[in-house]
Amino acid sequence: MDIAQLNEKIKQESAFVDLLFSEIGKVIVGQKEMVERLVIGLLGNGHILLEGVPGLAKTLAIKTLAAAMKAKFQRIQFTPDLLPADLIGTQIYNQKDGNFFIRKGPLFSNFILADEINRAPAKVQSALLEAMQERQVTIGEQTFKLDEPFLVLATQNPIEQEGTYPLPEAQVDRFMLKIKITYPDRKEELEIMRHNINDTMRTPNPVISPADILKGRQLIQEVYIDEKIEKYILDIVFATRKPKQFGLDKLAELISYGASPRATINLALGAKAMAFIKRRGYVIPEDVRAICYDVMRHRVAVTYEAEAEEITSESIISEILNKVEVP
């Protein structure tokens, strides 16, 4: 297909994204970036790890997204006594007919908010992450496909680390994006306050259907990514692994291990999804840079020396982006 035609097609077919953003924007004040990333995760068929202090509209955002899409939503509060069966479901014995029947768990929804995932023990975390990866759940001897679209939004509270089970690096790598959300600015906070005290909070209307998202996913496959952009993505990822080759000698001491091939895949996928929501049929370097922090921050591990100097993975990514030449 000609690029002009593709561009036009994407422009037309991605119109639902603006509709979705507009509907969510009626409920959520600010947090535009978070909402945008949620949609990218949804279109990229990935899952999202969210980090931020409590009260930043994480639950409201995903709830609104589900409502705007007429999709099923479940919120699971992770606690130390949670069991895998509490998530995936279990077999229950029926005394009347002497048979077992299956009661499906809350994972059988389109949107899952796994609140404070690091509060549950490893076996529960791995049950969730397995379901995220396989997109299916086995209860007893039966395997059930999970609903599509299926998006897990897991939150981690950066404070109160006592008695938590932090996700191991291999598990964290399974999340397509890790979003860090910050406080709203004064203007936004004023608006939030007025909405709440005047009880003018709006309920979102369903403006799209899950089928639109599935269609959007297919369209994303068609978004054109040039060889130059692919090379740019590879340069960024390889700079985290072999910084000296990119003239970033000082980073060699600060990175304990670089981004995995999943980072490369998700960076390309995220950039395509970003181009799609910007209603473009091709990827430009801006798309890669815009999504880079969210794809890489949980995949670049810093050394103890870096931690001691309060150097974060974000600052390392910034250094890399400032050094790697844009095509």
Partner: protein, 316 residues
Amino acid sequence: MVSRVIKYIALLILLSINLSAQSVSVLASVDSSDYLVGDYINYTLEIRAEKNIQIVTPFIRDSLKKVEIIKELPPQSVENDGIKSSNFVYIISFYDSASVTIPPIAIRYKVQGSDEEKIALSNPVTFSVHTVQVEQQAEIKDVKEPLTIPLDWKFILLISLIVLLILAAVYYFYRRYKKKKTEQPVKKKIIRIPAHVRALTALDNLENEKLWQKGLVKEYHSNITGIIRGYFEERFNLAALELTTSEQMQQLKKVPSAENILSITNEFLNNADLVKFAKFIPLPSVNEAMMKQAKEIVNNTITSQAVQVEEEVQNV
């Protein structure tokens, strides 16, 4: 009666033969019977034997147990009238107050011509070791002053020599540094070509390469934007090669002297992006317009500076 006398005489002869065959005597002694804890004690083993008797050097370490052997002195032997007298002296010490008994030490020996090993035992030696007696009634005395080590002139001489050598080395290097500093620096002329001249030359070269006419449209657009981004780096001190189009535009907006090129630069970079990243094949007129726009961007931002010739001082 006679037979009884003969028996006695025979017995005496036999005994004398036996004694002479095994005449090894070992006498152990110490130089005193009373020592202070930690005193050095000379423990001597004097072995007297006929010269045809081979004495094995005594090994006393296992027999001494708690007694510490400080030093073993080399054995000394004296021969007199066919009797060899060997003295083994050990300096020992004991670190507790007690009555100490060194048990008999076994001395091994062999008679010449015989393989049989025999043993002679020394006498046990007893001595007492006591601690310092505290005089309860005596007047309390102050702690003794530390001992002053007498001056070692050789050591002082060595230190003085080292200090003199260091001073001489410092003086030598200082002279060398001063000499180098006073040397006339070599002046090297460095010609700095202004950014706009370099950019315009590069654009002319690109035009002459006729890349887009050869079908290398993407390369043409990559190179032309590369030249302009490089020019921005030098002219406006922007890290333009590491910035995306929108980031470059944001940075340029902050530069007052770039105000007149904002619109044209935006169009130029965005058109190039379409070719570079979106497989867009522009019309020949667009390719020509790109070159015109590039030159316009440069020409509109030329400063009054001429070709600069700067002198840089370099020490060879």
